[in-house]
């Protein structure tokens, strides 16, 4: 896909379809870098809440930081801290946290074709697979921009999330509620902004998004937290079957 000399590349294009023809011309920073760094900063701040929650649950500051450095997936980390805080067993806490992490497998399955990483780069890239880096990579118009966006988000979010975790763990109980700053809305608003271009791609995408949202809401009162998100993946299965006439060879 040659870079269009005048305007921006079409954002609604398929991220998988491009052959990597991104060109950053002089002037404004390439969108994947700017947006990735901003996303990492905005979402990473909620590491404050995790750090505070984990220490309040009874983990030490070092254990709290080890989770953010090594597990580096917010939902799983909150799940482990939450189970410990609720007096649940450590085995149940770890099992629930790992189950919650299974959606990252589906993300990395999607990303493997875009990132094309091998060897040590693959071992490093695996650390960075999160909701945020996946969403930002998929919002890009071609493979090269997707790769750049993925690593920009990874770097920014990893640093911010871990710094915020440490600050939250040390300052547990001293900071105000993250909600009073509207921090709890940043995550969903960012995800919405990032799947927006995908929704413009076609009716199948819109149907899958609506189906996934409906399934997750319906299942929320019935299943432990996190499980409804995994279950929403079945909307993607339905969408795959529905789009058979288009994508079958």
């Amino acid at each position: 896909m040659p870079a269009s000399p005048g305007g921006r590349p079409p954002r609604a294009g398929t991220a998988a379809g491009g052959s990597g023809g991104s060109s950053s011309r002089a002037g404004a920073a390439p969108k994947p870098v700017r947006d990735g760094v901003l996303l990492g900063l905005a979402v990473g701040v909620s590491g404050l809440a995790f750090g505070a929650a984990a220490v309040s649950a009874g983990l030490t500051v070092w254990q709290t930081c080890a989770l953010s450095l090594l597990a580096y997936t917010g939902a799983s980390q909150f799940a482990l801290a939450g189970t410990i805080a609720a007096g649940g067993s450590l085995v149940a806490g770890a099992a629930g946290a790992i189950l919650l992490g299974s959606r990252n497998s589906l993300y990395s399955l999607r990303l493997s074709g875009l990132l094309q990483v091998r060897g040590a780069a693959r071992l490093l890239a695996a650390v960075g697979v999160t909701d945020e880096s996946t969403a930002l990579a998929l919002a890009q118009p071609d493979n090269a921009a997707a790769r750049t966006g993925f690593f920009a988000t990874f770097a920014s979010l990893y640093l911010t999330w871990n710094a915020a975790t440490l600050a939250g763990a040390i300052g547990a109980g001293k900071i105000g509620s993250p909600q009073s700053f509207g921090l709890d809305v940043i995550g969903p608003a960012a995800f919405l902004a990032l799947i927006w271009p995908r929704l413009a791609a076609g009716w199948t995408e819109r149907g899958v998004a609506a189906g996934g949202a409906a399934i997750a809401i319906a299942a929320t009162p019935l299943l432990p937290p996190g499980a409804p998100i995994i279950l929403a993946g079945s909307a993607a299965l339905a969408g795959t079957l529905a789009s058979r006439p288009v994508s079958a060879p």
């Binding site: 090594l70 450590l90 650390v127 995800f191 994508s247």
Partner: protein, 105 residues
């Protein structure tokens, strides 16, 4: 605290293995059109589910939080006006924070 350390390290190892697993699938599998389409649609379904749950749930219960919903509505309006990413985020967080400051939600 040894038990807690084991739980922390097992969780970290499990979460990492799950991330790595999807990146190590053989490339020929991804040439399958059906599987590729599925992999394309999975993030759309999961991220939309995350938006819905983060908007309307707390733990296992559905909640109605006017400030949170108004924040997301502001994000939708900003997106329809083709606002840049940062403006979308600021509109959402600012709306929620403002309403809570005013004692709503």
């Amino acid at each position: 605290m040894t038990g807690a350390w084991i739980a922390v390290l097992v969780t970290a190892a499990g979460c990492y293995a799950l991330k790595l697993a999807g990146l190590t699938v053989p490339e020929r599998l991804l040439r399958n059109a059906r599987l590729r389409r599925f992999a394309e649609l999975v993030p759309v379904a999961l991220l939309a589910a995350l938006v819905a749950v983060q908007a309307g749930a707390k733990g296992s219960s559905l909640v109605f939080d006017p400030a949170r919903l108004a924040g997301l509505a502001a994000a939708v309006i900003a997106l329809m006006l083709r606002a840049p990413f940062l403006v979308v985020i600021l509109a959402a967080a600012g709306t929620a924070a403002g309403l809570r400051l005013a004692g709503i939600g």
